[in-house]
Subunit: 347 residues, 2 copies
Amino acid sequence: MATSKKKSDTGLADSIAPGNVTAKDLSNMLGIAQSSVSRAFTPDSRISDELRQRIIALADEVGYRPNAIARSLNTKSSGIVALVMGDITNPFYPEVLEAFSYRLQKEGKQLLLFVVPPGRQADDVMPQVLQYQIDAVIVTSAHMSSRTADMCCRRGIPVIFLNRRVKNNSVWSVCCNNARMGESVADYLVERGYRRCAFIAGAANTSTSSDRRRGFVKALGRHGLTLAASLDGHYTYEGGYAAAHALFRNQKNDVDALFCANDIMALGALDYLKHVAKLAVPHDVAVVGFDDIRAAAFPAYNLTTVRQPTQEMIDVTMRLLAEGAPPDQAGKALHEVGGQLITRGTA
Amino acid sequence: MATSKKKSDTGLADSIAPGNVTAKDLSNMLGIAQSSVSRAFTPDSRISDELRQRIIALADEVGYRPNAIARSLNTKSSGIVALVMGDITNPFYPEVLEAFSYRLQKEGKQLLLFVVPPGRQADDVMPQVLQYQIDAVIVTSAHMSSRTADMCCRRGIPVIFLNRRVKNNSVWSVCCNNARMGESVADYLVERGYRRCAFIAGAANTSTSSDRRRGFVKALGRHGLTLAASLDGHYTYEGGYAAAHALFRNQKNDVDALFCANDIMALGALDYLKHVAKLAVPHDVAVVGFDDIRAAAFPAYNLTTVRQPTQEMIDVTMRLLAEGAPPDQAGKALHEVGGQLITRGTA
DNA sequence: ATGAAAGCGCTAACAT
DNA sequence: ATGTTAGCGCTTTCAT
């Protein structure tokens, strides 16, 4: 029981009080240079296979792993990607989050998450985020000022907007072809005989909502129609519900189809129409959403919607990250990937 | 326009090429010691108010913020809390995530998120996580071996299981009073006249599911009843749907009430019962869930369920983190907070 | 109260 | 291929 109580003294780590073995400890135990230990954990570094094996073996035995913080300090890259997300209440975003997490894990990167509270901006959290030598910032469903985006850019931190188009051309945007899909929805509804089509918008000022609306209106125009109504549903369930309420409370028949800028609003609208207004969907009124969240396929809703190509959007995002280049001034800062109309029971 | 192009040369940071101003730069500009800059950003440190003001003022002007990575390196604490989450598909967990994120933001801490893919364990990601000098690990809805938990503990990293009870007494558990609420559900169903009650379990081996079941069975026993059936629904929508299908496909009337170990299974069961089996809920069969996710209140489901006190659970978790102490050997490693039965239309 | 100097644990030149 | 030596940007003694 004569276990020595010395610590970091002889350089031989006590096997009884492990926890934080360092590269120095390891090198002492093996009688080699500390830098060799570092090399053993650096791919493509000049070190003999034999030495690397010995180092790794001992490392496994004593539970050594390089300290990522120390590494980050001199490489100036932490291996951490920040994801700034508003509106996590919308089930679409947890789906994005899940996919993103898997993707980053595969690349050995970490995911630092910020949920932006309703009514606040991504800007508020950025100063904090930037203290961590983040490799990149992905902003989704949240607003960030050009000023802040530029600040990141100047620090060499790429900023990518996912599911938001942004004017600022020091950042990338990755989106679904929203306007085009808006057109598809209009074409589909008109083809099915609907003529008095309304639009339930998401949050004001969001490109996704206005792009979808623009395409929708444009295609209606091609059929000689105009928008029967347009309300703001704030991208929330409650907003969709309230919009449907506003449109149908008087049983007036001005509207026979509802295109909602996202699914969660569509669910809210459906719940009002079916359970409160007691209308028959799609007979009395059709409803179409956008995103194709999981619940859209539940029998209770069975929602016709536009599927966002989440996986492809993330693939593009990761590719942009890997390239690391900021968008060229020329302008092509927007990447669009194609959505798909999924027809179910509501339209 | 004679802006000098020198950089980090005289020590005077160029105002045209900022990005990474360091404490050293700042101290040079002010003709003071770098350690004073550090002190200016350290609460309760010995520095005159006057000097601190000057430093902060300049820092704001040039956009200096202390490098969190460098700070972490010598304080050995990164200000980052890791959240390891399985099953993000269950809407309950995004709700937890949101609340947790807000809470950590309030304390100035960062949230590192890991989503554990289905079929894998939290153990797989822990070695990676530990490289980052994490302040604590919260595990929710995922399994982690005692071995891994002990490893964290030995490194001085507190591990807290949220919504999972665990035998290992080097970690804390924070749960709802699951067994008690299971009893409440049974009492409620029996009181409403249901006699042939089935249980749809979550993932096998999870304490939450078995605790809820145990309480449920116990209370049924008090009323002289036994469990009419018990199936595994794996805590998923599809699992709940499949379980209901298995129980009701033959229109046999062995069961008149279903207690599902979580809400998302209950939604699956409800969708099958109402839209496929065309049964009347709650007339033909009652359904009760657990969690009180947002969708439980949607008119399409209107689910009677047990509300988990998410906020309180997180409060307790944060308090444990602040205290930092590992559970005392004596055993009281489990914190239970009270749930609440929310009666709606399905039972 | 402030300055000087020694690390935190690693990576990245340099040597050899 | 390996060892030696400087840092990365801070915090923290230790002086003064």
